[in-house]
């Protein structure tokens, strides 16, 4: 007598497959572009030659040469871990130390590289400068650094706008990225 072979019902397998397919379709997002955002200055010819006097102590100078070595405020620096705190201290000095910035509005971070500087090093230091500013903003707005950057990415949302405005109040991000020098190429 032929026995009926035990079978697992597999008619619903297609449904499971479809369910999986739809799940992945819905949850998959194509990665947004992410990175360090900056605004370039207006075109060179549009700028009039106006003599702007900036006091030496209101500038925080960071220079990188063609072999990726750093010079911060005239002193060589090989360990970058303290740079962020130094920039933060500079921005928030508010005249306490006469050799540092007078006020956050006047503070300028001057960032100069060489044509031979690698992009990796450039990004590493730019990241630290922006980190210092975002930390200051986030603290003033009373949110975390990550939350502040999220808010800054989407300003159409009124809550985000509020956080952004509160954080940036009185502290413009003044990072001057100078034309690179021409030692290495």
């Amino acid at each position: 007598m032929p026995r009926s072979t035990p079978e697992i019902p597999n008619a619903s397998m297609a449904d499971i497959a479809f369910l999986l397919l739809t799940f992945f379709l819905v949850t998959t997002t194509i990665a947004n572009d992410r990175g360090l955002s900056i605004q370039l200055p207006p075109p060179p010819e549009a700028q009039q030659d106006v003599e702007v006097k900036i006091q030496e102590h209101n500038m925080f100078k960071i220079q990188i040469n063609s072999s990726d070595a750093l010079l911060v405020e005239g002193n060589p620096m090989s360990d970058l871990s303290g740079l962020k705190e130094e920039i933060k201290k500079f921005i928030l000095n508010k005249g306490a130390d006469p050799l540092s910035s007078d006020s956050p509005e006047k503070a300028i971070v001057s960032y100069k590289t060489d044509r031979g500087t690698s992009h990796k090093k450039f990004i590493e230091v730019l990241d630290l400068i922006q980190a210092a500013y975002y930390d200051v903003y986030a603290e003033q707005a009373g949110v975390t650094n990550a939350r502040f950057r999220e808010a800054a990415s989407d300003l159409n949302n009124p809550t985000n706008r509020q956080i952004y405005d509160k954080g940036r109040q009185g502290i413009p991000m003044q990072v001057s990225i100078a034309e690179p020098t021409k030692v290495g190429n």
């Binding site: 597999n10 008619a11 397998m13 297609a14 499971i16 497959a17 479809f18 397919l21 194509i30 947004n32 572009d33 992410r34 990175g35 360090l36 955002s37 900056i38 605004q39 370039l40 200055p41 207006p42 075109p43 060179p44 010819e45 871990s81 590289t113 060489d114 044509r115 031979g116 500087t117 690698s118 992009h119 990796k120 450039f122 990004i123 590493e124 730019l126 990241d127 922006q130 980190a131 975002y134 650094n145 950057r149 999220e150 800054a152 990415s153 989407d154 034309e179 690179p180 021409k182 290495g184 190429n185």
Partner: protein
């Protein structure tokens, strides 16, 4: 009567057991053939890492420039090159290229064009600065250095 009875005995179900195989096959076919990127990148792209990332929400306003050493060094040399869409361009072509990108956007959104610079780790600042100067002349001043997220948060 016997005629009807005969018909009723024939199994009328469509076999559905192979349906998942068909669905999976379709799924795999589309997974394999789907290309998310519309241009092939011919320059090296070892993207640097950073922690202070900002997201660009409107993809339609973003346009990409790739900078790095060409992959086919025997053909194009070792010097970093700029790739826009599918071709290598020189810094002097950038103004024209930006204007063409702006033409694709609605008139009121043209000033919001963001250029995403996807630059290789080893590319030098010189070429990037040249690109930036041209972008300033072309009045496309919002730029983004594309970076990856740094794994550990240093404090």
């Amino acid at each position: 009567m016997s005629k009807f009875k005969k018909k009723a005995q024939v199994k009328q179900d469509i076999p559905t057991s192979s349906m998942p195989d068909v669905v999976f096959m379709l799924l795999f076919f589309f997974m394999v053939t789907t290309e998310l990127r519309e241009t092939a990148i011919d320059v090296q792209q070892r993207i640097p890492e950073a922690s202070q990332l900002r997201k660009l929400l409107r993809k339609s306003l973003v346009t990409n420039l790739y900078i790095g050493e060409p992959r086919k060094t025997e053909q194009f040399g070792k010097e970093p090159k700029i790739q826009a869409d599918d071709v290598f361009i020189e810094p002097k072509d950038i103004i024209l290229w930006v204007n063409r990108q702006k033409d694709l956007l609605a008139e009121n959104e043209r000033d919001q064009l963001t250029v995403s610079l996807k630059v290789d780790n080893e590319a030098k600042r010189g070429i990037i600065a040249d690109v930036e100067t041209e972008l300033r002349k072309a009045n496309a001043r919002k730029i983004l250095y594309t970076t990856l997220e740094k794994k550990k948060e240093e404090k």
